[in-house]
Symmetry: none
Subunit: 207 residues, 4 copies
DNA sequence: AATGAATGAGGATTCATTCAT
DNA sequence: CATGAATGAATCCTCATTCAT
């Protein structure tokens, strides 16, 4: 049975590995040509496999792309959670959260940037259309709200609607990230994580 | 000659009129079927002209759509400017700005909502890809910054980087609008313009 | 209005003409490569138009092929009806029907033969799957049954279930046509229309 | 050597067994999803073997399907021959033949029905395209002709072209089976084996 | 200027077949 | 022998753009 066990897990590992390779290729393609022009053909080429192979690992294009997004989101959330655990005090957790979120965005800059190939939104409306996107928003928002709630109970923040405050912070962070990605030359708009957190805390800790 | 001049301006007028009609049709189509499914065929049909005619007024689809967005943005800016003029005091101007922005978004809800057909962004990144979108962001941000600067000079807000604060407010408003459009059922996330402005002012007016 | 009228009918005529050209091309392709291998690409090529053009005249492949079949069936039915009208006496009408059916089949031999590209049926089962095929069967069967009924009333045939007798004749004719198409070398199986009608009449006129 | 011989025949037996299993699986798949949707993937799954294994026993899909049809035809012919042997008198043999043919068709209804997924034929043309189908037709027709010939010599039927009469009967039976499969609700078209044989005999036994 | 028929590149997806293990 | 992951040609269909009228 060691043979069986190892051979099975070897197949499993291989499958996971391949899946990862394809998702990585998809990410690279999106970065290169933008989301709307990321075709299965192009992704297969980038992954170095035949078109048909993609369909062995993903049911269809939608699934492949959704998983590509999910992958990156999950990596970021891991990073956030780890970072939050290493810090005590909710205010500090919030600081770390903002810092790490912005850090992650910088690391994945090109990918995030590529998403915006589709002319789609003015400053007033972040797209939350697909189920995956909605999941990400709720996941992140939930995490922020959790910190805020605990902080409220602990008296670090003033009592209030944690979900709403979480939304505020999320949007502030999103805006900062976007500014960084799209107008890196405009110093006036560059915000450090600290600065942004400070601004938020003025609202959240107002006596 | 008068004849020439008048005939030319008549043509000009006609051209502008037609252009407007097409842009309106494009807006209606986007509202009806969503951005990703807004085809030239459909727009021509809605405008009551032949497909080829669209290309007499717009170089290509991209231009047509960019101008459609621009049109709507300009209408909103008009609204904001008018409203600001009717109010005295920068704090009040800011309140009016937030109120009108959110009001406009509600009035054009279907249009904004339609934009989100394309799966596009996680909470961290508002699309600012195309030149048009960039223009809109700068236009709006500039307007906000102007109010803030004057308010700073007038001592209504604490001194600081007006552009940065403008960005903060812009993002907060964007987030509130998005929440309203996409999760109208989730009361916890619904923010009134007043509430949101209050939160922002805690940061902007902190002594 | 002559201008309008003529121009409109000119478009109509053109549309009908083009439709006919494509249907003809489809028939030729089916003849050449067989039904299962008749692709839209191939048909477009044969018709001398672009792939996309096919979709201006037919909603999709199914419709194009169904109309190709319908066209041929309708031509045959026209032929049968005309021939029947030129003959008096139901027995003679039946003879003419058999004769013309077999004649038509011979004229369209290659087309009929091509249908059988799909290995599909043993001698026991004529495919009547699609709505179009069913329509053809009922159309033809109904025509035969009508002659038989009138002939029964006129005393030319013995009373009985006209529909059932129509089915018998239809199958006999189908068999003769098939034999002719697929085994033209086997004299033993070649049946003249007269011979076949005679055989049927033995059953239909038995006292 | 015995060892060799037995081991070889053991392999032979195994090969035949496997082949049979696959053919059975193919039949089940055709019954379930219809001929046009019977894929190698699906057949392999049904047979409980890997896709590649199919190609160890059959050169390609065409061969596998042809053998599947052949198998079923051979089973029917066995049934017909057995039944004919148990009956004396050629007229009776003919009756039994019609009865058994229709009985077999009913027993394998789903299989036959599944064949008709491919839109294929108008009333004028039973598919006899592939070599396999041709073989089946000749096999069946030969069997019928044999009975007819003997019956003619024995004076039970009038002298004539046995092959031709065999074809007539074959087609009548085919028609009856088809009607039964495709229009089971239309009583007018349902023919019992007896009725059909009676009709045929009017022609075959006419003095 | 206006038309709209025609174009054809490009997209997603399927599946018979092969071949390294 | 058996496997099944990988292949890639082939299929149907869409739609932005062009151009003869």
């Amino acid at each position: 049975m060691p043979v069986d066990a190892s051979s099975q897990s070897r197949d499993e590992v291989l499958k996971v590995f391949r899946t990862g390779e394809i998702i990585d290729a998809a990410r690279r393609v999106i970065m290169e040509v933008g989301y709307p022009d990321a075709s299965m053909d192009r992704i297969a080429q980038e992954a170095g496999v035949a078109k048909g192979t993609l369909y062995l690992y993903f049911k269809n294009k939608d699934e492949l792309l959704a998983r590509t997004f999910a992958e990156e989101h999950d990596q970021m959330m891991d990073r956030l959670r780890k970072s939050a655990q290493s810090v005590s005090g909710y205010t500090e957790q919030l600081r770390s959260l903002v810092r790490e979120t912005m850090g992650h965005a910088v690391d994945h800059q090109a990918f995030r940037q590529a998403l915006h190939g589709a002319p789609d939104i003015s400053p007033f409306g972040t797209s939350v259309s697909s189920a995956e996107i909605r999941r990400e928003v709720e996941d992140y928002g939930g995490f922020v709200a959790e910190i805020l709630e605990k902080g409220m109970e602990a008296g670090e923040f003033r009592k209030g609607n944690a979900a709403k405050f979480a939304m505020y912070l999320t949007q502030l962070v999103a805006g900062a990230v976007t500014a960084q990605l799209h107008r890196p030359e405009d110093d006036a708009c560059l915000t450090s994580a600290e600065e942004l957190t400070d601004f938020f805390l003025l609202g959240a800790q107002a006596k």
